[in-house]
């Protein structure tokens, strides 16, 4: 298998500043203004976070949920390089781009959230101060390293463009760099699987310290395992979403058959999550709390039902080959994983009766703006660089809005 080159990906081309991109950038620009306000006025004046809920939307969504969506690269890499399913290779680059952008947004959000972000450089460099017990330190170092790994994994796409460019300097650089990358990429990719295994599970371990103040429906030593398994499922969901939308937006193949088979791999993983989640509740004698009709029981039930619904939708290959069905199943998975993370970080966490939290408008608009910027960056980058596989397949979808839902297995 060729790790660095030999991709059949081609730049999509076309105009950069389409109406969609401009609209997305305007939303992102609003976020930039609000970010300036956040730094000018401080966290207290601009966010709803408080001494009870010291972590809010930016941690729960941008970091904890966003990086799980960014695990598409991780999930596909496991499949292609470890399970040796080379035929899924066309999914690798778009998945990597989604991951790289998702993780970059997460890293940026952390800087917004920190009270003293100008000291953040001390985290990677002041190693003699590292606290070996700190899960957050492990998460921070791993995510920083993984961000780097993702962009390196993606770099052949940029170098291939440079190789074909008019500038001799760029061409030379690419000609010299690509072979080096090709030789060493295996080690980078292996790192690209090790790091998410470590930090995605640790995003669950983080709240083990909050255990005494966590609602028993979610307070389990299995948090790291549940976070790790669900991030793979959520990454898959993100890949299906990205593939389906790319196919509609750029008229490229949705890789329906590939996604359907991939769903066959994800099915046992989601089932495993559900099994562990439910058995854990039974063993810890929490079924009563699950069935109690309070907001905790209800939210846990909704979260479990969403996971179960995605399993039902993906239960057989014929079901998965219906792209609309697969798309809905993936959205369901992403919603389930998101709810699970929000439940753990915001609902289950109980600092005391007189504390409450709902994100401020500034927090919400900044998050929305960052996501808009991420989507715009994705569109621009696939237009400029060889990310998406060229050529259409037999499963090109009908570009009409109904196309997502109506594609039949024989289309």
């Amino acid at each position: 298998m060729n790790y660095a080159t030999g991709s059949r990906a081609r730049a999509v081309g076309g105009p950069i500043f389409t109406k969609t991109v401009v609209a997305l950038l305007l939303i992102a620009a609003l976020a930039v203004v609000l970010i300036a306000v956040r730094f000018a006025l401080g966290l207290g004046a601009t966010t709803a976070m408080n001494d009870g809920y010291a972590w809010g939307l930016w941690i729960a969504f941008d970091v904890v949920t966003g990086t799980a969506f960014g695990c598409g690269g991780f999930a596909i890499a496991l499949l292609v390089y470890i399970a040796n399913r080379g035929q899924y290779h066309p999914l690798v680059r778009p998945a990597l781009l989604t991951s790289a952008l998702g993780y970059s947004i997460a890293g940026f959000s952390v800087l917004l959230d920190l009270g003293r972000p100008w000291l953040a450089w001390k985290i990677p460099f002041m190693f003699w101060h590292w606290n070996p017990h700190s899960v957050l330190l492990e998460v921070a170092l791993c995510i920083m390293a993984y961000m780097l790994v993702l962009w390196v994994e993606l770099s052949p796409a940029f170098l291939e463009k440079a190789r074909d460019s008019g500038s001799a300097t760029l061409r030379n650089f690419a000609e010299r760099t690509l072979p080096i990358l090709r030789k060493s990429m295996l080690w980078v990719i292996a790192l690209g699987m090790l790091l998410p295994t470590m930090h995605q599970s640790s995003l669950g371990s983080l709240l083990l310290l909050s255990g005494p103040r966590l609602h028993p429906l979610w307070n389990t030593p299995l948090l790291p395992l549940l976070f790790l398994i669900s991030c793979i499922a959520m990454g898959f969901g993100a890949v299906v979403l990205e593939s389906t939308l790319s196919s509609r937006y750029f008229g490229r193949s949705a890789h329906r058959d590939m996604l359907a088979s991939l769903g066959g791999w994800i099915l046992p993983i989601v089932s495993l999550f559900l099994l562990i989640r439910v058995v854990d509740l039974v063993v810890r004698d929490q079924l009563g709390a699950l069935l109690a009709l309070d907001r905790y029981g209800t939210m846990a039930a909704v979260e479990i039902a969403l996971f179960a619904a995605s399993i039902v939708m993906m239960r057989s290959q014929s079901q998965r080959l219906r792209l609309g069905n697969l798309f809905r199943a993936s959205m369901c998975l992403m919603a389930a994983g998101t709810l699970y993370r929000f439940n753990v970080y915001l609902l289950a966490f109980q600092p005391g009766e007189h504390w409450g939290y709902f994100p401020s408008l500034t927090e919400l608009l900044i998050t929305v703006g960052l996501v808009a910027g991420e989507v715009a960056a994705f569109i621009v980058l696939v237009r400029l660089f060889p990310i998406l596989e060229a050529g259409s397949s037999t499963t090109k979808i009908d570009p009409s809005p109904a196309g997502i839902g109506s594609t039949s297995p024989t289309a």
């Binding site: 966290l43 001494d51 040796n84 009270g115 101060h129 606290n131 017990h133 395992l225 993983i269």
Partner: protein, 300 residues
Amino acid sequence: MGISRRFALKSVATAAGTALARAIAPAKADAYERVEPADDAVGMLYDTTKCIGCKSCMTACNEANNLPYDTRGESAGRWHMPFDLNEYCKNIIKLYKDDETGEQSFVKRQCMHCVDPACTTACMLGALYKAEHGIVRYNADLCVGCRYCEMACPFNIPKFEWESRAGKIVKCELCAHLVAEGKLPGCCEVCPTGAVIYGNRAELLAEAHRRIEAEPDRYVPHVYGETEAGGTQVLYLAHLDFEKLGLPDYGDRPVPQTVKTIQHGIYQGFVAPVGLYAMLAAVMMRNRRQQSEEDTKDEG
């Protein structure tokens, strides 16, 4: 599909192995070393039956720590009137009152100076650390303002300077700067009834038990903090259930025990991550070799 599912499960098993090992690890008790209070550990003993709620300890705390008074909200600039511990308040007297039973008690809240604290376990660069005499201290130079300590502390103690553009963490440091000069912490210095006293933890514990023994009707027969959450250096005597005073029954298990056990179980000597890395690379190399053999065959 059968074969590819098997492959899928295998590859996930590889990735999940780490986490699984972590999850099982708590069974091994040796991975966590229980922290005992130091011989020279200092602390405070607070006795609800002696506290008259005068709050002089609150203003003394702000003075001792050079902290501005909290005159926001209803106080309208006239009184130091914090709603709870916050960036202007490291020490607060709260009132518990039940109108039906007529039960009433004041309770003083500040950092408990845990024997094995969650906050120092959480802190990335050790900005919060166990200093001399087991006092939990704060070094702003190493604090990035992530607020994980606030998420971790089971007693809701560390507070953040939300109104600042360079927010630091604010919490009781047992007036370590005064103690070093042989003086008393601000609150203990001014308390007119001796409701809060400062001293060596072991001696305070003995004093607490002596009081319970001398007047068993006066107290709930338990010293809060002796064993709670692995033990704290601030101890409480009360005439009402501690739970009612906002001191929950956390059991004897130190809060960091679960996470320390799991993290140590898996990251000890970094063997597991390096092993997993080597395994991932080995599988990839095998796959690549097989692929190139197949390619050669195809060409031949």
